[in-house]
């Protein structure tokens, strides 16, 4: 029996079974699938039913899932939509204010310096996937506010991921100002060169490969090629001490424009990989939650952290948006719309937990904060601003 439970077949079938349960739950409580999957993950994890633990296999597959997830998200965005000063300012202020808020609230609750750093970092994120999904559900994707939200959320993600890399450096060793500058320079160099090479060379190379004899004979060649680039970028990102997911995200954006005619459509292929592996990633986030760590103290912290998370993002984004000429209503929508932390904060929390940089109480606080901000935003936007019915 021991052997069965540790087998790959058992773990895969259970994880997928549970992911299906996550869909059903999400549909029942009218929430995002991500939330459903995390909640059922908590149920089957060691803290409740104990059907599965966070084995090396689950960890590997979840890691693959996170890389594929960010690659697919990257494929949805054009590089040129992102390099926009207006959105950049909203994003920047919307990263700094929550970071400071997160850091101080964690310190106020008596958490250590490194836990406080990670808490701040987790608060910087904005979930592109969840925000975009909420706007799509309300049929508002083409509004000014939506464009500002998505543009700023993308830059936010990049800044948040950079903040993550910096936090990892700060926490894991004595870091000097010069090495901090070096990380930034490396990161900027990676973004500029990665984007440039991806956009001008790899993207064209894919199209060239697609037109070649080999892709006509083996249509799958192009898909393998694209996934190879995703993992290669992830590897390079790790190599320069960025998070692997920054790399796959950049790879996705760089390859967004390549047009494939003969070979298998790599966007479709990546989407299929994403369906299986991102589901497992979200379930695994729940498996890692130990509900026994939810002491009264931690519950108060979760509540305070969630309030800080929503308020700091609201202030940090709504004010710059208003100052840049958006209407008051649009600025308010931007402020609320930026607050779901979603999967990015969870990835930050996961990286911290796996590396032993944060403890279980901070981990679950960050996960619950992500879940709560993600639940609150759609409710506020729907009821206060759009009053539109749920669009399936």
């Amino acid at each position: 029996m021991e052997e069965l439970v540790s087998s790959i077949e058992f773990q895969m079938s259970l994880l997928l079974f549970v992911a299906l349960g996550g869909y059903l739950l999400a549909s029942r409580i009218n929430q995002s699938v991500v939330i459903g999957e995390i909640l059922v993950g908590v149920l089957i994890g060691p803290s409740l039913f104990g059907l599965i633990t966070y084995t090396n296999f689950v960890q590997s597959i979840a890691h693959l899932g996170a890389i594929i997830l960010l690659f697919v998200v990257g494929l949805e965005f054009k590089l040129k939509d992102i390099f926009n000063v207006k959105y950049g300012i909203i994003a920047l202020v919307g990263v700094i204010v929550p970071w400071i808020g997160g850091f101080f609230i964690a310190q106020a609750f008596g958490y250590t310096f490194q836990n406080a750093i990670f808490t701040g970092t987790a608060l910087t994120a904005t979930s592109i996937a969840i925000t975009a999904n909420v706007l799509r559900e309300m049929g508002q994707l083409q509004s000014d506010a939506a464009k500002a939200i998505i543009g700023a959320a993308v830059i936010d993600d990049i800044l948040g991921l950079l903040a993550l890399s910096v936090s990892q450096q700060i926490v894991s060793g004595s870091i000097s100002f010069s090495s901090l500058v070096l990380i930034f320079l490396k990161a900027i160099a990676f973004f500029v060169f990665g984007a440039y090479i991806g956009y001008t060379f790899l993207s064209r190379l894919i199209e060239k490969v697609d037109g070649s004899q080999i892709a006509r004979r083996f249509p799958e060649f192009v898909f393998i090629f694209a996934m190879m680039i995703a993992f290669l970028y992830a590897m390079i990102a790790e190599l320069i001490h960025l998070s692997a997911i920054v790399g796959s995200f950049l790879a996705g954006m760089a390859l967004e424009g390549a047009i494939v005619k003969h070979g298998k459509d790599y966007k479709e292929g990546a989407e299929y990989l994403h369906i299986i592996f991102a589901s497992i990633f979200f379930v695994s986030l729940g498996i890692l939650v130990d509900v026994h760590a939810l002491t009264p103290n931690v519950i108060w912290f979760v509540i305070a952290l969630t309030i800080v998370a929503v308020l700091t993002k609201f202030i940090g984004c709504a004010i710059p948006a208003k100052l840049q000429g958006l209407s008051k209503r649009d600025a308010l929508i931007v402020g609320w719309g930026m607050s779901p932390r979603g999967e990015v904060a969870m990835i930050v929390a996961l990286i911290g937990l796996n590396a032993g940089l944060i403890q279980q109480d901070i981990y679950i606080s960050l996960v619950f904060m992500s879940v709560l901000t993600t639940i609150i935003t759609p409710i506020i936007l729907r009821n206060w601003f759009y009053k539109t019915p749920f669009v399936d």
Copy 2:
């Protein structure tokens, strides 16, 4: 550097990069991609360039690949095409004769009893994928001989996989006649019930799920559901001491007929998973080959084994085919057409190696035998029987 090489990103990008190399090589030497991928796997493995080793991660991903591969192959076949007495007899004789041949040639070369058992088992297989591909390349898929080959090859695979399970039992412990009978009964029960439940219930359930509200809202639900069934069947197969791949193969056949309209097409999705993970599986087979084990003795054994493999399959299939009324030419085509061992023999070899049941010298002999039979067959069929040009 150590850390980088063991990272998932590095291993995935290298494996996929090498898989691409396998395609290029296969295209250059005008062979099946499987052969190209194995050969480049040998190149990067520990025995030559040592860029990658068979880590737990590679093993897990390759195992996933084998399960997905057999699921996709299963999806190509209808259950009713297989339960045909005529093909069953060709398959049965075509399993028994090579098994005996393999067992005795290994014993003649002084290998131990358990190595001889595994050698016999590896010779029973016929590669559906490779045989079907050869016939497709020659535009002969609808001929009588082709139908006999494919029908018999499918049954052959099932018998071969059963033989594998029995061999594992025989080799790994003292097995009594009654427990052997029990394995057979369990296997038959699994096939009958698995096929029945899959065909009448799960297949209908997928169609029902596809028509439900949940699949309309979340089209990916159906795909996750189908993959869950594949891994569930694999798990049940393991549970009753069959090989996991027997389970996913049966799941594929059972779900072959389900028609999906609203949800994501799970056949397409499984095909995309297969592209990435089966490629890694084939590369990993090469990584496991230690060319230093290729002593003169082993080389002679590979040559003898390959001759035995081709002759026993030829005799075991051509004679029953002729006796059942096929023309002499068709019977000869069936005999030759059944000889590629392909991936099934390699999976058998891999399972034996991973379980410590066979040694490296037998492992590489079986891999080279698979490669050689797979190379020889298309050449003979093309030159002797069809004289048609290569169809891309």
